[in-house]
Amino acid sequence: MALLSIKGVTVKFSGLTALSDVSFDIEPGRVHAVIGPNGAGKSTLFNVITGYISMTEGEVWFEGQKLNGLRPHTIACRGMRRTFQNGGIFAEMTVLENVLTGLAQVTASSIAGLAVGMPAAYRAEMAAMRRACDLMRLMGISELADRPAKDLSSGQQRLVEITRALATEARLLLLDEPAVGLSVQDRENLMAVLRKLAARGVALLLVEHSIDLVMAISDRIVVLNHGQVIADGEPAEIRTHDAVLEAYLGRN
């Protein structure tokens, strides 16, 4: 069964059609990418899947449940998390605080328990702390734990955002242009991290302009143009697909 099914999704903004009858599936533990020229509807697709905008027609199913009409935070709680193209980080918080915030859903401390100092509330907070430390280690950012997020390089911020998004057991992670603005070194690092996540069974869906990165790590690529799916297949197929060459990659 597909992890995520997008079925005939159409989004119209006051007459303008941003997405038109888009359908595709995402399989568990695989790396998927959406590519296409600017204005093709990639960001709209992300926003509609994660509940930030509502669709005009169509359905989105995640793990056998329909997501239509659910709020972004409810969808996130179901096990689908996303990052943002820019500025998704909580700048004034430290790295550790950012990662702990991602664990809110599984931090079982009650407000009354916290207010009167119940040991159970403290234990729940400490369990979150241990988990955050584990995650930062896994992602190789333990050294940054006490640094304010705003002081980090954009590559480091991107890693913090991914760590934060993964804090709970997300089965699907949507990454909005994760490699934009990164140095070659940071980009290599990011690719290694994404491969590691896929190997751990997290399905990835990325929107990305860097064709090299997309071709290198994707199992499957969906190509959008003018809000429509013009191709859907493995990297090798996409590379030689006539319509894709025409619309996006260019011939030669």
Partner: protein, 330 residues
């Protein structure tokens, strides 16, 4: 992931905890001994500092942590004060119950003020909450025989555990116990998943929702807690003054709370306490310089805002890194 579980952070720094306990114990002892060195007048000033510190802490929850421009603080403060006064004056409730009543009323009013905050932002929320404060003041003035209008209401003396707090020194222990307990609770809430959610909403509401945190839910929680804390501060204010009147809860009162939060340091509990000390004690000390009082005070405030954007707490954290407040416990 269990194979990766590392030694938890607090175990890595064993001395810190002991050090903090020692500092807390010394501070507690010093606070308990304050009445030995005060006279009636200075004791009254110290009591005011405590009440304003609590009012500012409650304000800071919404203004500094949640990052919402809500200005209902004088309203919460007044509602707490009037609740205590009415319950003690008419229902002859003992002080602890009346104060509990003000906490409940404050939480409920916080809920009511929090609901528009789900739809309104920035200036719009600011104006709605400001108007709410003025509406409450109008209600006290026109409350007829209940609130006794502009003349105000007398507040009976507080008794706790059979001891009547009829002097400022006796009131001090009542106020200190309540203020310390409520600030302690607030600190526990802020340094947990709840406080982190507040700050996450301030930093980026959209990203916050992507982490499974409902911004609406946590906004309401912040307003409810803020209302509760500030109303309790108002209840203590009623005891402190012995008589309350509508004019105690006007824009001037709000401005004072706002200045305490900003000058102490927005988003810092220690800052709110430092701000309360400065803004309550400085005018009293400056009375020794007649004529210069207002000038020195104003220059002091302008200097802090210009050169210390994170207020006194920001300065303190720069000088002593251990004072930097975190959104978690170790």
């Amino acid at each position: 992931m269990s194979e990766l579980t590392e030694v938890t952070r607090q175990q890595a720094r064993p001395g810190v905890r002991l050090q903090r306990c020692a500092v807390a114990a010394l501070l507690a002892l010093a606070l308990l001994l304050v009445p030995l060195v005060t006279n009636d007048y200075t004791q009254y000033v110290v009591n005011s500092i405590l009440v304003y510190a609590l009012a500012a802490v409650g304000f800071n929850v919404v203004l500094g942590y949640l990052g919402q421009l809500a200005f209902a603080n004088a309203a919460f403060f007044g509602i707490g004060a009037y609740t205590v006064a009415l319950l003690m004056h008419y229902a002859a409730l003992p002080f602890p119950l009346a104060l509990g009543g003000s906490a409940v009323t404050g939480a409920l009013v916080g809920l009511v003020v929090g609901l528009p905050a789900l739809r309104l932002k920035g200036y719009y929320l600011a104006i709605v909450t400001l108007v709410f404060g003025e509406l409450m003041r109008w209600a006290y003035v026109h409350g007829g025989d209940i609130t006794k209008g502009s003349g105000g209401l007398p507040v009976p003396e507080a008794a706790m555990f059979g001891v009547v707090a009829d002097t400022d020194k006796a009131k001090y222990y009542v106020i200190l116990a309540v203020v310390a307990a409520v600030i302690w609770s607030t600190n526990r809430i802020l340094r947990s998943r709840v406080g982190r959610a507040f700050v996450a909403i301030r930093e980026n509401e959209l990203a916050c929702a992507s982490l499974g945190i409902s911004p609406g839910r946590y906004k309401v929680i912040a307003f409810v807690w803020s209302g509760l804390v500030v109303a309790v501060a108002g209840g203590l204010f009623a005891i402190l003054l012995g008589r309350i009147s509508p004019e105690s809860f006007n824009l001037h009162q709000l401005l004072l709370h706002f200045a305490i939060v900003m000058i102490g340091g927005i988003g810092s509990l220690v800052g709110s306490i430092m701000g309360a000390v400065l803004l309550t004690a400085a005018p009293e000390i400056l009375r020794n310089f007649p004529g210069l009082e207002e000038i020195i005070f104003s220059l002091l405030l302008i200097a802090v805002l210009l050169f210390l954007p994170r207020g006194l707490a920001g300065l303190a954290a720069r000088l002593v890194p251990a004072l930097k407040e975190r959104l978690y416990r170790e």
